[in-house]
Point group: C2
Chain length 331, copies 2
């Protein structure tokens, strides 16, 4: 049995999902020879540390009841620097302007030789090459399946499952909020504003939906795909982005009459990285509805392989983090 | 550099595709530390053997020009027994009645401690448990991604990429010929017989289409999924099968008016293994058209993940074989 000592830095929806999943999968992890011990958790107000392993059901209950897990005034980056552990699970919120505390946390983790598994897009969308270089020099593992498409396992699919294939292009729907709004506009023949309001009521869109509907969330994910699968060296500002705010129900009805629907499609190939609304034939693998994410990977041998899944949700994102943890440490 | 000595037993469309792919990917394989040498190839009329490695471009040309590669009268199973090598790539045609020569070849390979990668469904649909037991006792590797869904990597996706997840159910379109016929019946509002004739003209359906249209090809693939992913112990005769021959264009039009299409769906869950025509909502991830295959994997954490790809084709099937070879031997 191999013992992995982990911290969870950031204890919002994704961090709590990770704790729940670790709790639920303790036996399965032990069955494959992994004893995963969470020795520190930080949220924005402080931290809990226990070298013997934190009681995860107690800490989840504490967070829900009191709004924080803080039992002492210590920050995430201080935990990364000072608590002895192997793996930093970085689940702080994405900041695409500066990389935010996530960038500081990842660099600190590599600086102390720790592995990182993350759901935080910001640092990867801004400083991909630098982070990879620092991780490699430190000999640290670094995995980030959860940053693109939540539970839709696109990075591991392209890297491992399609082994032997050259990846020619990737295109897909990488933002569930936009997909929901466009799908509902088509179904209800309603305006963008009406369906944005509906998706905000349902908690699908945030109060400030800019990152989703203007395409910048999609752009971040494209940058991660471009750098990690195509070996490019690009950042968030290199993406050509058009959002969905100007699409009308009339355009959707016209498209439908011709056998098409309109989707916010992100695409990466050669030197093109673009997110924009595009016509997709009904019945095409990319024409999925609701909040689903989808990505089509064009390869030299396997042809085009398309993967569809839930792009968001705390347990779904935690599932991607779990698969990265298993990949890193499975004997 | 690790040298892998391989035979290709069966040199029809898939076997030739494997030779082409090995030729094309020699450098990529060397880059990951694998020197793959094909030391023997058998077709139905004889074999070629070369301990230094067969010239693959010469042998492909010979097959195309003369219809056989036979330079000596020796069968596949004799090669497996007598030629020193590590890996048997078994690509003889599927026989679901008896398992055919494929079953004999696989048992001989394990009996001599060789690994097997195969595209041949028959032996796995009839004798899954026996084959797994013999392979395990021999310490042999045994992989068969190419048996289900061609280039659609469903087995490796369920086993590896979704690591940590419990698989609850799988449902999908596992036969491209049926999907083509149903998609075209809908598009043209034409009869089953008309669209079968069209797909035979295009080479999509075989002259005797029974295995495809009556659902037995789908049934074989369901058995492989049930045994390998769900740990069941079932065979071909345990599947509840209904084909597509009785579907009318009127039924498709009626379904379409209600926002549905009709697909031949295979499903595995708990104690249910069934292939039958079912209504699928338009826009649903399973509602893909043309000859595509698709499978939805329902999991406890990641929710439902759907994979779509080309279910047939010699290079596509060879791609699945290549990914299995890489998985077996990647250092």
């Amino acid at each position: 049995m191999r013992t992995i000592r982990a911290s969870i830095i950031g204890f919002g929806s994704v961090g709590q999902g990770v704790a729940e999943v670790f709790l639920q999968k303790r036996e399965e992890l032990e069955n494959i020879g992994l004893d995963l011990k969470v020795v520190a958790i930080a949220d924005s107000r402080g931290a809990e540390i226990n070298n013997e392993g934190i009681d995860l059901s107690e800490i989840i209950a504490r967070k829900r009841e009191t709004g924080t897990i803080a039992s002492r005034q210590i920050t995430g980056v201080e935990i990364i620097r000072n608590v002895e552990h192997d793996l930093v699970i970085e689940t702080t919120p994405t900041d695409v302007e500066t990389g935010g505390v996530g960038l500081e946390n990842m660099l600190a983790a590599f600086g102390h030789g720790r592995d990182v598994v993350t759901s935080n897009k910001g640092p990867l969308a801004l400083k991909y090459r630098e982070l990879m270089d620092v991780a490699r020099e430190a000999g640290s593992g670094f995995r980030f399946e959860a940053t693109v498409g939540g539970a839709m396992p696109i990075l591991n699919l392209a890297h491992d499952t399609l082994a032997g294939n050259k990846i020619i292009s990737i295109e897909g729907i990488l933002n569930g909020t936009c997909n929901y709004i466009l799908s509902r506009m088509m179904e209800e023949q309603a305006s963008y504003e009406q369906m944005l309001a509906e998706s905000q009521e349902l908690g699908i869109a945030e109060t400030d939906p800019t990152n989703d509907v203007e395409g910048s969330d999609t752009a971040c994910k494209l940058v991660i795909l471009a750098n990690s699968i195509f070996g490019m060296d690009v950042n968030y500002n290199d993406v050509d982005v058009t959002g969905i705010t100007k699409i009308t129900p009339e355009a959707l009805i016209l498209a439908n009459d011709e056998g098409y629907t309109i989707k916010l499609i992100g695409e990466v190939k050669d030197d093109l990285i673009r997110a924009s609304p595009r016509l997709v034939p009904i019945g095409h693998p990319l024409a999925v509805g609701g909040t689903l994410n989808v990505a089509s990977i064009q390869t030299d041998l396997a042809g085009t392989v398309t993967i569809t899944g839930r792009g968001a949700g705390s347990i779904e994102t935690a599932s991607a983090i779990l698969s990265d943890v298993v990949s890193l440490y499975r004997p």
